[in-house]
């Protein structure tokens, strides 16, 4: 007589310390093996797209900060003002474009640091969290002195940035770059060479390249699977075409590759920031744009590379002072969809590692 086994349904979340927010996963287990994972999202759906239809273009800057991916508020502002500027054919002064690029890269580092810290916690390395937060706090200080906000900056404006950098900011930013590059080898020591970390991540949660593309994955998740695609290179915005940087690409597609890609991205971000600081021109920071801006009728799709991937906004304007329809293409939404594919066949303990490695922000998934 064959031994009869049954599949077990396991509910993870929405309150679970390792789901990085309010994600619920229904995991079907056969013993310890994951048969199927069904993510259940929508617990943070904030109706941003509806609200944006009822706010002016300027007001929406404050909304995209909060409503979209809150770990990278600058990236949200960037994609929104980019869409508006393209449709309205609004010029951005050189200095503002450099400042924006610096801010975007600082934001990328801070977002990746949060990811690094939480990924460390997921795998039992609490020190990584404390260290990452320590570094991030320095970036928060830089943000705060330039924009006034720690998390939500409302710093970019259509046609420029809100205010010029305060005195001595560039020196402090330079200082941070030195400091941060000194700290990065510490992470290598702590995690990259850590046998426990390697055992938990290497070869775990492999996402093949063709599956990644078919599922719409982007950003570090797709780059770790071998897709050499970065919006900053493919469709440069701001001053990315004028600075030198590399796109880290790995072919393994496992958790470890995603970790390495993000770690390298932080190094590249520092490289970009340094080049921008060097070349930062003087001059205007904002072109004249009416507060009650009316964009011409039309439609545009703007895409940027947020820390999580290909972040886009499809903007439909009917000539009024507020958008007619805004569709936010959230990178984490598509990356999370690939989760089921990554998890199938792995052990239940790997669920947390795989989920942590794709770096979702539920606000970006649900909007």
């Amino acid at each position: 007589m064959a031994l009869r086994t049954e599949e077990l349904m396991l509910n993870m979340g929405p309150q679970h310390p390792s789901t990085h927010g309010v994600l619920r996963m229904v995991v079907t287990l056969d013993g310890e093996n994951v048969v199927d994972v069904q993510p259940d999202i929508g617990y943070l759906h904030s109706s941003v797209e509806k609200m944006m239809e009822n706010r002016t273009y300027l007001q929406n800057i404050a909304l995209v900060d909060r409503g979209m991916d809150y770990l990278s508020a600058m990236a949200n502002e960037e994609v929104w003002v980019l869409a508006c500027e393209r449709l309205g054919k609004i010029e951005v002064p050189e200095r503002a474009r450099y400042i924006r690029t610096i801010m975007l890269e600082l934001q990328r580092i801070s977002s990746h640091l949060i990811w690094l810290g939480t990924f460390g916690i997921d795998l039992g390395a609490f020190t990584a969290f404390l260290w990452a937060m320590r570094e991030r706090e320095r970036i928060m200080d830089l943000f705060e002195s330039a924009t006034g906000g720690r998390l939500h900056h409302v710093y970019f404006r259509i046609g420029g940035v809100f205010e010029d950098l305060p005195e001595g900011w560039t020196d402090r930013c330079e200082e941070f770059c030195d400091y941060f590059l000194d700290r990065l080898p510490e992470y290598d020591e702590l995690l990259t060479g850590n046998p426990i970390f390697l055992a938990r991540t290497q070869g775990v949660g492999v996402l093949p390249l063709d599956t990644a593309i078919a599922m719409g994955a982007s950003g570090p998740v797709a780059r770790a699977s071998g897709l050499a695609y970065d919006v900053r290179k493919a469709h440069p915005y701001e001053v990315y075409e004028r600075v030198e940087f590399d796109i880290p690409v790995r072919s393994e597609g496992d958790c470890y590759a995603r970790y390495l890609v993000r770690l390298e991205e932080m190094r590249q971000s520092v490289r970009i920031i340094r080049q921008c600081l060097e070349r930062l021109p003087a001059g205007e920071i904002r072109s004249k744009v009416a507060v009650t801006l009316r964009l011409p009728k039309g439609e545009v799709y703007a895409r940027t590379e947020s820390p999580r991937g290909d972040l886009g906004i499809y903007l439909v304007s009917d000539g009024a002072d507020r958008p007619y329809r805004v569709k936010i293409r959230a990178p984490a939404f598509s990356n999370l969809y690939a989760l089921t594919e990554m998890m199938r066949g792995w052990k239940v303990a790997d669920v947390i590692a795989i989920l942590g490695s794709i770096d979702i922000v539920l606000s970006d998934v649900d909007r």
Partner: protein, 213 residues
């Protein structure tokens, strides 16, 4: 961004209709191949176009800065299969699926945005469907990633995707009434929330704010 793909598609499928391109530059000037900065193009655009006479906003023809085509509903699946499968197009990456609601025209425009990592070209597809008969073939068989995007469009805009493997609400609760992103949607608190809030109000009045026995 290049309209070449859209024109190629038009040649293959005469039924499709290009986005109106009045007000934009002629094709070719925008087509600068992969790797050119679209950020540059924005600044370059006002210089290259002659200054148009100022007209009231409602008279200006709309600009479509993203190349795209209108596809009839019946032709959507063959068009998509060609776009994704034919190496000539190679649009293997679906950015998103969504829709725009136009109640005055009694129309929903279902919107697909496609991208090719090889040629770095993009293409938007729009399908016009009537609001009261909002159903459309699902493309989740063509691009796997469409699955959740279509669920979202079903949830928020009330479009039924025929042949979708798992068409359930994704953002809102299963018992939600209405489709919020439609322009005529009116929000109402769900009944259980009204009840709970009333109870809480009673607690607060009876015991003083925040105090419990």
């Amino acid at each position: 961004m290049s309209w070449a793909l859209a024109e190629k598609l038009k040649a293959a499928f005469p039924d499709v209709e290009l986005f109106p391109r009045a007000g934009t530059e002629p094709a070719g000037t925008r087509d600068q191949g992969p790797g050119t900065g679209s950020g540059e193009q924005v600044t370059a655009a006002p210089e290259s176009t002659p200054a148009a006479p100022r007209r009231p906003a409602h008279e200006v023809p709309p600009q479509y800065l993203t190349p795209g085509v209108y596809v009839p509903r019946e032709k959507l699946l063959p068009v998509c299969t060609t776009l994704a499968g034919d190496p000539e197009f190679g649009l293997t990456y679906l950015s998103f699926v969504s829709a725009v609601d136009w109640p005055d025209r009694n129309e929903l425009e279902v919107l697909y945005h496609l991208y090719s990592h090889q040629t770095r070209q993009e293409l938007a597809l729009k399908v016009r469907i009537p609001r009261d008969d909002a159903h459309i073939p699902s493309v989740s068989g063509v691009w796997d990633g469409a699955n959740w995007h279509e669920r979202e469009a079903y949830d928020l805009l009330g479009i039924t995707f025929d042949g979708h493997p798992n068409l359930r609400r994704i953002m809102m609760t299963d018992d939600w009434v209405g489709h919020p992103l439609r322009k005529d949607y009116v929000y109402q608190d769900p009944p259980w929330l009204v009840e709970v809030a009333k109870e809480r109000q009673k607690d607060a009045e009876g015991l003083g704010l925040g105090e419990r026995v």
